[in-house]
C-alpha cells in the first residue's frame, strides 16, 4: 500500500499536477505519526502509512498554497467535503488521495471514531490507495455518552460540565486542530465586543465550549481531533456529538456526506416544524 501511495504522490508532484502533497511521516515521540509536506518526489520518501496515522490532515488544505494533494482517510474526506461545501477551497484545487482504512489507533487503542466508521472507503477521491473495504453497521451506540448525560437532571448536567470544563486552560488546541474552524477571527478573540472574558474560570470556559460546539453543529463530522488535541483530556467529543445528533434528528442532515448539500445551519425547510415544542 505504502509503495502505491508513494508512487502516486510522486507522480502528482513530478507531473506538476499539485504543488504539495500532504501526508504522514514517522513521528519522533512514542509511535506517533506526524503531518508531512512533500514538495518534491524526494520528500515523498519520508511518507508512511500505518495504524498511527490519526491526524486529520484536512486542517492543512486551507492553509497550503497552490494546488494540494492530500492523503485522506474516509473520515478526513468527510472534513474535506465540509470545507468544499462551505466554499473554503475549490474541489478542483485539491487532489484527494483517498486511502482505504480499517481503523487507526491512539496510544495503542482503537480510536473512538473507528468504532462507528461508515467510510472505510472514502466517499469521494481522485485516487484510491488500497482495496475497497466494506463498511459494516456498527453494533455500538454512537451516542452512548451523549445519552448518559441527557439522562441526568439539569443540576447534575450543569455540575458535570462545570467540573469537566474547569480543567480547560483555553489553549484553543481544539479550535486550531479542527478543519472546519476556519474563521479569521474567532469570537473568543474579539475584544470589541468582548463576548467571553479572557480569564480562565468555570463559567467562561463553559461559555466558550458551548459556543464552540454550537458553531460545529452541522459541520462536525466526528473526526475526534479536538478531543485528541486537548492536553487536559476533556471529552469534547460529547459536545460535538450532541450537536450532530440533534442536527440529524431535527433536520435530517448528516455532515460530510453530500458535497452538493447545503449544511443544515445555512439552510431551512419551510415545512419542518422544530418549533412546536418550544417556540410560543
Amino acid at each position: 500500500m505504502i509503495e502505491d501511495l508513494k508512487e502516486k504522490a510522486k507522480e502528482l508532484l513530478t507531473s506538476k499536477k499539485v504543488d504539495v502533497v500532504i501526508g504522514y511521516e514517522a513521528g519522533t515521540y512514542k509511535d506517533y505519526a506526524s503531518p508531512s509536506f512533500a514538495k518534491t518526489a524526494k520528500d515523498v520518501d519520508r511518507f508512511v502509512w500505518n495504524k498511527n496515522c490519526v491526524n486529520n490532515l484536512a486542517i492543512y488544505i486551507t492553509k497550503a498554497k497552490g494546488k494540494v494533494g492530500i492523503i485522506a482517510k474516509g473520515c478526513d474526506v468527510k472534513s474535506i467535503i465540509g470545507i468544499i461545501q462551505e466554499n473554503q477551497i475549490n474541489r478542483e484545487d485539491v487532489v484527494i488521495i483517498g486511502i482505504a482504512c480499517d481503523g487507526v489507533e491512539i496510544d495503542g487503542e482503537k480510536a473512538d471514531k473507528c468504532n462507528f466508521c461508515d467510510v472505510h472507503t472514502p466517499k469521494i477521491y481522485d485516487i484510491l490507495i488500497g482495496d475497497k473495504i466494506e463498511s459494516k453497521e456498527s453494533s455500538q451506540d454512537k451516542y452512548k455518552e451523549v445519552a448518559e448525560i441527557e439522562n441526568k437532571s439539569p443540576e447534575e448536567r450543569w455540575k458535570y460540565w462545570k467540573d469537566t470544563l474547569s480543567k480547560c486552560i483555553r489553549c484553543y488546541a481544539c479550535r486550531q486542530v479542527c478543519p472546519l474552524c476556519y474563521c479569521d477571527k474567532c469570537f473568543v478573540d474579539t475584544t470589541v465586543p468582548q463576548w467571553i472574558p479572557m480569564s480562565v474560570n468555570e463559567d467562561n470556559n463553559m461559555m466558550f465550549h458551548m459556543i464552540r460546539a454550537y458553531h460545529m453543529a452541522s459541520r462536525c463530522i466526528g473526526c475526534g481531533e479536538c478531543q485528541r488535541a486537548c492536553p487536559m483530556n476533556i471529552p469534547l467529543n460529547i459536545l460535538s456529538k450532541k450537536m450532530t445528533k440533534e442536527v440529524e434528528e431535527m433536520f435530517g442532515y448528516t455532515p460530510g456526506v453530500d458535497i452538493e448539500a447545503k449544511p443544515a445551519i445555512q439552510d431551512f425547510n419551510k415545512k419542518e416544524d422544530p418549533d412546536k415544542e418550544f417556540i410560543m
Binding site: I59, C171, Y172, A173, Q176, S199, E225
Partner: protein
C-alpha cells in the same frame, strides 16, 4: 546544612504537620493526570506518578490573576489593591526540571521593576523537589548543563527515594529551616552510595537529547532563513506548548467589569496566537512561521542575550502535548544543521 534522612512514614507526618499551618502544594492525581494542588493530608499526594500536566509556574504565576480591583460611583473611582494572603507555603514533590524553571522566571519578574505578585509568592514558598523515579520519553533535561532528574537548581531541599526512606539534600537556608522546625522527623544521613546510585540511574534514563552547541550562533544570524517556514509548517498555532511550558511567561492584562465593580486581571497569553503582537495599524507576525520563530528565538536567543541562560529546562511537556508532534529537539537539530 548537613544532609539528612527521612523515612517515608515520617515524610507523611511532616506533610500532615505542615498542612496544619501552612499551604502545602503537591502533585495530586486527578482523573488520568497529575496536577499541583493544595493538599490537606499526605494521603492526597502522589510522588511516584508522571510529571504534572501543568508546570510549577502556575503556583506562582496563575493563569488568571487579579492585579487590582476597583469600584466606581458616578465620577469617583476607588482602587482596591489585591492583597496576597501572606501565608507560608511549601511545595512537595516538584520535579527538578520544574524547580529549575523558577530561577528563569525570577529573572523576568525581578529585573528592574519588581513584580510583587510573583516575587511575594516566591519568597514565602519553600520548594522540596524529588529525584525522578521514572522519566518520560519526552524528557530531555540533561541536555542543559545544570539540569537533570536529580539537579538541585531552584529547589530548597531535594529528596531521593532510597527504598525505606528519602535521602534529603539541603540546598538553601529555607530548606534547612524546614528541617530545623521538624528536627525530630529527620535522621542523620547515611547510605549516601545508595542515593548516588539512584540519582545516577535516573540521569541515565533520560534518553532524549538535544545538542545546543552552535544553536545560539545560528539564531543570531538566521532570522530570515527560509528554514523557519519549513520547520514550522505543521504548527497549528495553539497554545498547548506555551501554556504548559514551565518558563513561558507572556501575559495579557484585561479589565472585567460587573456593574460598578471591576477587576484588572492578567491572563497567560501566547505568541502562537495571531492577535498577540500588535503595532498601531499593522500586525507584524501575520503568519504562523513568524510566531513560531518568535517562540524559538525568544527561548534560545533573546532570553539568553538578556539573562545569559536558556529559557528551556527540557521538561518535554511541549513534545508530549503537541497535537501534531512538533518536537522542539528536532527543530533545534534542524536549525543547528541548517
Amino acid at each position: 546544612m548537613a544532609d539528612k534522612l527521612i523515612s517515608k512514614e515520617d515524610l507523611n507526618t511532616l506533610i500532615d504537620n505542615l498542612a496544619k499551618d501552612i499551604d502545602v502544594f503537591a502533585p495530586v492525581k486527578k482523573g488520568d493526570m497529575y496536577l499541583y494542588s493544595k493538599i490537606s493530608s499526605s494521603k492526597d499526594i502522589s510522588l511516584n506518578g508522571k510529571n504534572t500536566k501543568k508546570p510549577l509556574k502556575e503556583v506562582f504565576f496563575g493563569q488568571s490573576e487579579e492585579l487590582i480591583s476597583f469600584k466606581t460611583a458616578k465620577k469617583e473611582i476607588e482602587i482596591i489593591e489585591s492583597e496576597e494572603d501572606g501565608k507560608k507555603r511549601v511545595i512537595i514533590g516538584s520535579r527538578p526540571c520544574d524547580a529549575a524553571a523558577l530561577p528563569i522566571l525570577d529573572e523576568v519578574f525581578g529585573w528592574d521593576y519588581k513584580d510583587s505578585f510573583y516575587l511575594d509568592k516566591r519568597e514565602r514558598t519553600t520548594i522540596i523537589s524529588i529525584t525522578c523515579n521514572e522519566v518520560e520519553e519526552s524528557c530531555f533535561c540533561t541536555s542543559f548543563g545544570n539540569i537533570s532528574p536529580s539537579s538541585k537548581e531552584g529547589s530548597d531541599l531535594l529528596l531521593t527515594d532510597i527504598g525505606e526512606s528519602f535521602y534529603v539534600e539541603v540546598v538553601t537556608d529555607k530548606g534547612d529551616a524546614i528541617i530545623e522546625g521538624n528536627s525530630n522527623l529527620f535522621k542523620k544521613a547515611e547510605n549516601i552510595s545508595q542515593k548516588d546510585k539512584r540519582q545516577k540511574e535516573a540521569v541515565e534514563k533520560v534518553k532524549r537529547r538535544v545538542e545546543l552547541e552552535g544553536l545560539k550562533e545560528k539564531l543570531d544570524i538566521n532570522f530570515e532563513d527560509p528554514i523557519w517556514k519549513e520547520i514550522s509548517q505543521k504548527c497549528l498555532g495553539c497554545a498547548a506548548c506555551t501554556y504548559l511550558c514551565p518558563t513561558c511567561h507572556c501575559f495579557d492584562i484585561q479589565d472585567e467589569m460587573k456593574k460598578s465593580t471591576g477587576k484588572r486581571v492578567r491572563n497567560w497569553d501566547s505568541c502562537a496566537f495571531g492577535h498577540f503582537t500588535q503595532m498601531p495599524g499593522h500586525q507584524p507576525r501575520t503568519e504562523q512561521f513568524q510566531r513560531f520563530r518568535q517562540r524559538v528565538i525568544h527561548k534560545f536567543k533573546y532570553y539568553v542575550d538578556k539573562f545569559n541562560k536558556t529559557a528551556c529546562v527540557g521538561c518535554g511537556r511541549c513534545i508530549e502535548n503537541c497535537p501534531v508532534n512538533m518536537d522542539i529537539t528536532k527543530v533545534i537539530e534542524k536549525i543547528v544543521s541548517s
